[in-house]
Amino acid sequence: MSAWFVENGMLLGLATLDGVSSAASVFMVAVGLNLVFGVLRVLNVAHGSLYAIGGYAAASTSLFLLARGMPAWAALPLLLVSSAIVGGILGPPIERLLRLMQGQEEVLQLLVTFALFMILEDGQKLVWGVRPVVSDAPVKVLGTIEVPFGSDAIPFTAYQLLVLPGVALLTLAVLAFVLRRTLFGRMIVAVTVDREAARAMGIDAGRVTLLTFSAGAALAALGGALASPTTSLVPGIGASTIVLSFAVVATAGLGQIEGAALSAFMIGLGRSLAVYFAPELEVVVPYLIMVAVLLVRPQGLFGTLEARRI
C-alpha cells in the first residue's frame, strides 16, 4: 500500500488538485442553479450557457485589455468584474422569459430552457467562434508553489491551489451568511419555501426572484470565468457543465448550499481521480457517484424529505 502511495503520490496530488479546482467552478454553477430553482421553481438548463459565456467573456476581455497594456495582475479581479457584468446583462431578460414558464408543466419548462440553451450556445459561437480561446494570464501571474512530497516536490499552480478553492469557500461563506443572517436572505428563503405566503407578508417576490436570478447567473458566469484560465474554451463546455452541476445538485439534495459544496468536491475529486487512474471511466464517474447516493438516499445526501402533513 505505502509503496503504491510513493509511486503514485505525485499523480494522486495532481488529481486532488485538479479535482478541487474543477469542484470549485462546478460548485459555483450548482449553487446558482440551486438558488434559481428555489425562487423560480424552474430547472434552468440554460444556466450552463451562463457558465460558458462567463468563461468566454472573462478570457476575451482579459486578452483584449492585456494587449492594450493592462498589467497582468489585473486579469485576476477582471474575472470577478466580467462575471458580474454577464450576470447583470443576461440575468434580467432570461429571468423575465423563465417567469412566463412558472407553474407550467415541467416538460414544457425543460423544453423551453433547453431551447434557450441552444440559442445562447449558437450566440456564443457567433461571437467567439469555434476555435479554442485560451487566456492563462491569471495562472501565470501567480506562478507555482512547490509542495514537498517525500523526497520530491510537486509544483502546483498557485491559482489552482489557492484562488479557485478560496473563491469557492468565500462564496459559500458569503451565501450562508446572507441566507441566514440578513433580511434579504430571509426573504429569499421565504419566497423559496412558499411564494404566496411570502407575498402576503409584504415581500415583493418578483423583485427577490429577479435579484436572486441575476446573482445565480453571475455565480455561473464566475464559475466559467474561474475555470477559463485553466482550460481552453470550446463549444460544448456549457452542456457538460450543466449536466455535471445537475449531478451535483441531485447528489446534495435540492436547496442545500453546504451540501452542494461537499458533493461538488466528491464529484470533482471522483472525476479527476478517474482521469489519472482509470481514464476510460472519467465521463461516467460523476453519475456513478450520483446513482450510488440516490439509490440509498433518494432525497440526496443532505436533502430532507417533505415534512408529512399531520
Binding site: 433580511l183 428563503v189 405566503a197 407575498r199 402576503a200 409584504g202 415583493d204
Partner: protein, 218 residues
C-alpha cells in the same frame, strides 16, 4: 375598511367567486361561513391580491386595490393568516413573526414593541418564540400565524379557518385569544372564515354565508 364589490374570480378556468360583495367596517368583526369549496379561502386571497379578479373590485381603507400587488396590501396594514399556516419552518417562531415587520421596514424598536404587544395578548407565543417553526404542532402553528398577522395587521386581520383541525380544547383557547383581541384592538377589522359558525357566534357582529361562490347575509 375592507370592501369587495361584485368580485368574480376563476381558478383553473372554474368560476370560484360570483359577484361577491360585502364589506367590513373599521373595528368590525365579521365571519364568513360556508362549506368546504364554497369560496371562503378564495375570498380572502382575492382581498390580499393573491388571486386576480376577472370582474369587480377590492378596496382597503377606502383605497381601490385593483392593480396593487399582494405585497403592497400588507403595507396598507392588512395581516393575513392563511389556513395552512404557512410558517417558514427553518426560522424560529420569533423570526417568523418579525419577518413581515422587517419587510415593511419598520424600525427595530417598533417591531419589538409590536412583538411584545402580541406576546401580551397571546402569552403562549412568548414560550414558543425561540423554537423552530418546523417543530410546532398544528394548534401552536395556528397561534403563531395569528400572531404574525397581528404584527402588521394594524387596520385589518384576515384569518382563514383558524379553528379547522384544532382539538376542541385548543379551539377554545384560540377563541379566547380572539376574544382578547376584540377588546384590545378595537379599531382593527377582523374577518374570520369558518365552516361552522357555532364557535364564533359570540365573537362576531356580522356573519355572511358563502355558498358556491355567492354570498348571502345570514
Amino acid at each position: 375598511m375592507l370592501r369587495l364589490e361584485g368580485a368574480c374570480a376563476d381558478i383553473a378556468g372554474v368560476r370560484v367567486l360570483r359577484e361577491v360583495s360585502f364589506s367590513v367596517p373599521p373595528g368590525g368583526r365579521v365571519a364568513l361561513v360556508g362549506r368546504n369549496g364554497a369560496g371562503k379561502t378564495t375570498t380572502l386571497r382575492a382581498l390580499m391580491g393573491l388571486v386576480p379578479l376577472c370582474a369587480g373590485s377590492v378596496a382597503i381603507d377606502g383605497q381601490e386595490c385593483g392593480r396593487l400587488p399582494a405585497h403592497g396590501r400588507a403595507r396598507l396594514g392588512v395581516g393575513y393568516a392563511p389556513e395552512e399556516r404557512k410558517l417558514f419552518g427553518s426560522f424560529t417562531v420569533r423570526d417568523n413573526m418579525l419577518l413581515p415587520a422587517e419587510v415593511l421596514g419598520l424600525p427595530k424598536r417598533e417591531s419589538l414593541r409590536r412583538l411584545d404587544a402580541v406576546f401580551e395578548l397571546l402569552p403562549e407565543l412568548r414560550d414558543l418564540a425561540p423554537r423552530k417553526a418546523a417543530g410546532l404542532s398544528g394548534g401552536q402553528g395556528k397561534m403563531v400565524a395569528l400572531g404574525r398577522a397581528m404584527m402588521v395587521g394594524t387596520r385589518a386581520i384576515l384569518l382563514d379557518e383558524p379553528l379547522q383541525g384544532l382539538a376542541p380544547a385548543l379551539a377554545l383557547r384560540y377563541v379566547e385569544a380572539l376574544g382578547r383581541l376584540r377588546s384590545a384592538l378595537p379599531d382593527v377589522a377582523i374577518l374570520v372564515t369558518e365552516s361552522s359558525p357555532a364557535l364564533l357566534r359570540r365573537l362576531v357582529d356580522t356573519t355572511f354565508v358563502i355558498e358556491r361562490g355567492e354570498i348571502s347575509a345570514a
